[in-house]
Symmetry: C2
Subunit: 288 residues, 2 copies
């Protein structure tokens, strides 16, 4: 796969949202930009980048005590768009020790009593970690906007607050990879019906999801506003065509890979005398 | 592999520590109890149980909103005994969404200002989760005992406090799988020298580990006391021969599998009208 070779970064280049107004209806949900293979080769190519992804993440993690940067993958999308599946198939490729996943549900009373970013800050990955947000602070300008769960002025204030927050993250060593999983309403319907048809998937089905689905146009508008206003140089958005699950996984796995390649984490150098330590071990008194 | 078939639980039966005084020198570190295959077949057999392990963990996770139990894997062992490797090779087989890993380092000043279990409680997995402790509250009766980091009376008090705490966990829905990774001093020496020989492993090497190594006998004694006093019916200890990395992984993967089989988590039943939801979706007005 050309995308996994050398230092080219086709997925980043193709999926990064251009600055300016956003029209999600103009972005195909069923496409596979930058990839001309099929489902079978897409799965094989994702598997094939696993080794490099693992190695780069190990290098990242190795620097955790040396002020290493961290990576934060932000996953947003309508219900069934595949946030959980992405976690399993891409984040599942790396060492679980270096991963910190935070799933944001409806805020608790305690969380609501604080600024909207209060609970988000707790999920920010420490040095060397790969953090993942399954939903995020963007809910506070998405469902909150559609459902009018906060005053209009407060919601309007949040876009700039998010840009400031993300700048603060970047300055403190966090590299963001923001991904909007873009599916069509037809694909969502098929996935919801699939969940209903299979008793082992009933737990994933929530009738409330259909209530939100009925406001699809409002959600799209809310996404377009956030995608435009929070598409900064320091923390750009990527829109991932997500009707094809295998492409979604390959694209996000590749974005992570390209991000880690850019960071180019190096194995830390020893802060101790390697030869002296070898000698200490080989010369030691018997231990039992 | 016989161990992965049917409802037998050979690893649990063989590795669970019998009640009474513990003599670690009498437990082989290089053995492979319950398994007569070699390294190659051991790796293949671990891989082979991956699918059932994944399925059972999905069932566990599916019940997270229905008061499901959780599983807490506690990993203890001397440096290089393979806590990180176990995480990668066994916990890495399941869905990262349902995993919560907590690594306990030397306590911070804030942590030291609280009871020793204060920081531990924050790592306890919620319903449906597979939690992992990479080191644990046992450090508070191991290094703390060897290094005399707390008054003798306080340390003596902790064994009963741990039993009470673990009983409280079990009563609140947490099933513990406590594993002591048992390696020989020679194997540790080989692994430390291996880390020194490879610059990509220098970050894993800490000269302080050798200081602890020099107190091997004291650590063994401290382990034996904890293994005896905290080997309860509700939270038994398992001693895992860990000189063979592949056996360690196979054994712990199998212990997790056998634990999940005993819990036998069932897919939650729908708390909504499945047919009504199907109808609602198929009859809906066009959405775009």
């Amino acid at each position: 796969m050309s995308s996994a070779q050398g230092t080219s970064q086709p997925f980043t280049d193709l999926l990064r949202l251009k600055p300016g107004p956003v029209d999600l209806t103009a972005i195909e949900t069923n496409a596979a930009p930058g990839y001309d293979g099929d489902k079978k080769s897409g799965k094989a190519d994702l598997w094939a980048i696993g080794e490099e992804l693992f190695d780069l993440q190990q290098r990242l993690f190795a620097g955790k005590d040396d002020g290493q940067r961290s990576v934060l993958l932000v996953l947003q999308g309508m219900d069934t768009s595949g946030k959980g599946g992405t976690l399993k198939h891409t984040v599942g490729l790396v060492d679980p020790q270096g991963v910190k996943i935070t799933s944001f549900k409806a805020p608790t009373k305690e969380e609501l009593a604080h600024d909207f970013l209060w609970r988000i800050r707790k999920g920010v990955p420490g040095p060397g970690m790969l953090g993942v947000f399954d939903r995020s602070h963007y809910e506070d300008v998405l469902i909150v906007r559609v459902r009018e769960l906060a005053p209009h002025d407060e919601i309007e204030r949040r876009y700039a607050a998010i840009n400031d927050f993300e700048q603060e993250l970047v300055d403190s060593g966090v590299t963001l990879v923001k991904c909007m999983l873009h599916i069509s309403p037809d694909e969502q319907k098929a996935r919801l019906l699939d969940r209903l048809a299979d008793p082992t998937k009933h737990w994933k089905y929530n009738p409330g999801d259909v209530d939100e689905r009925e406001r699809w146009g409002q959600y799209r508008a809310a996404y377009e506003i956030a995608l435009e206003r929070n598409n900064t140089e320091h923390a750009p958005w990527h829109v991932i065509p997500a009707d094809k699950k295998w492409y979604r996984n390959l694209a996000i796995g590749s974005l992570l890979l390209e991000t880690l390649r850019r960071l180019d984490p190096q194995w830390p150098t020893a802060d101790f005398d390697v030869e002296a330590e070898k000698k200490r071990l080989t010369d030691e008194a018997p231990i039992s």
